[in-house]
């Protein structure tokens, strides 16, 4: 057997880590190889001396009884911490749901009452929600739809047929 294979096996044997089958095979080899047997004896002697060198001279006193009071306190603290975690997780879910709901719904638009100065200010502006270049959610479109405005025909403009408010191929960029 090669030395590089034999030495780890002998060390495992000295440390008591060989299985019974492998230990028996190794002992048979040692019986045939005096040099290997000498090396095995050296390792055994080293381990015996090391155990003696690290052994305490006096027997330690017996350990105290298990502290049940401390265990109970720890168990109660762990249960309280678990309950706090559950409440925190529930609160976090509720808060997340509220924020998501707020973000999903647009802010309500304030529609000015009829005859106010703000409505008059729209008189000169394009009031055609269909042909307007304003976005779908723009204020002018919403106000116009709410007040029932219809497209106004100017003298210099040709009357165009009514179009669907949702053209199939809109290239307008909707400014939200």
């Amino acid at each position: 057997m090669k030395p590089e294979l034999l030495e780890p096996l002998l060390l495992d044997r000295a440390l008591g880590e060989l299985s019974p089958e492998v230990a028996a095979l190794l002992d048979e080899h040692l019986a045939r190889d005096p040099e290997a047997a000498r090396l095995a004896d050296e390792f055994d002697h080293t381990l015996v001396a090391a155990r003696a060198a690290t052994r305490l001279d006096t027997e330690p006193p017996p350990p105290p009884a298990l502290d049940h009071a401390r265990l109970q306190r720890m168990a109660q603290a762990a249960r309280a911490a678990a309950r706090r975690r559950q409440w925190f997780q529930l609160a976090a879910c509720l808060a997340l749901g509220a924020v998501a709901g707020w973000l999903a719904h647009p802010a309500p638009v304030l529609v000015p009452p009829a005859g106010t100065a703000s409505e008059q200010s729209y008189a000169g502006s394009p009031r055609d929600p269909v042909n307007s270049s304003a976005g779908l959610w723009s204020r002018s479109r919403i106000v116009a739809e709410h007040t029932g405005d219809r497209p106004s025909v100017r003298p210099h403009q040709s009357q165009t047929p009514a179009r669907s408010p949702f053209p199939p191929h809109s290239s307008r960029k909707e400014n939200l």
Binding site: P8, E42, T46, A52, P63, P64, L66, D67, L71
Partner: protein, 164 residues
């Protein structure tokens, strides 16, 4: 919970002495060894599920004890390597030949010495030491082999010269 405490009682009865020796062998921690022992079992109760599923409850408890030691050593105190040999008591004359070996053990790298002492003083297997130290079994085997070869060289210097 009562079932867990009952199981912990059984483990305490079986392993508390060995764990107390483990803490008392560390010079810095020896005065608080009993308190650290209780801390070990408190932590074990926190993870009672893992303890129940452990292949070796003894190794699992030693692993917890090691972490308890490391946490205690992090407290403001002079830095001490784990498992340093305690102050040598008076030995009988025939044990004086072991002094060179004790010096050789003290000179080992910390990782090798810790592994060796877990083997020699607590008789843990390769697998148990691997679980305590959270390292592969091959690393445990390698550390122990190097440590034993080093100690053999200190006992028989002429043998190490012949083989090199």
């Amino acid at each position: 919970m009562d079932d867990a405490v009952a199981q912990l009682e059984t483990l305490y009865r079986d392993h508390s002495r060995a764990l107390l020796v483990y803490f008392r062998r560390q010079r810095v921690l020896a005065p608080n060894a009993e308190d650290l022992l209780q801390d070990t079992f408190v932590r074990a109760l926190r993870n009672i599920g893992r303890l129940r599923g452990a292949v070796s409850p003894r190794a699992y408890l030693f692993g917890i004890a090691r972490h308890v030691s490391l946490d205690a050593l992090r407290l403001p105190a002079p830095a001490e390597p784990l498992l340093r040999e305690p102050d040598a008591p008076t030995h009988p004359p025939e044990d004086a030949r072991l002094e060179p070996l004790r010096d050789a053990i003290a000179r080992l790298p910390d990782a090798q010495r810790e592994t060796l002492l877990l083997k020699l003083q607590h008789d843990l297997s390769y697998e148990e030491i691997a679980e305590v130290l959270a390292i592969p079994i091959g690393t445990v085997r390698s550390r122990l082999h190097h440590a034993v070869l080093q100690l053999r060289s200190s006992l028989n210097p002429e043998c190490s010269h012949h083989e090199t």
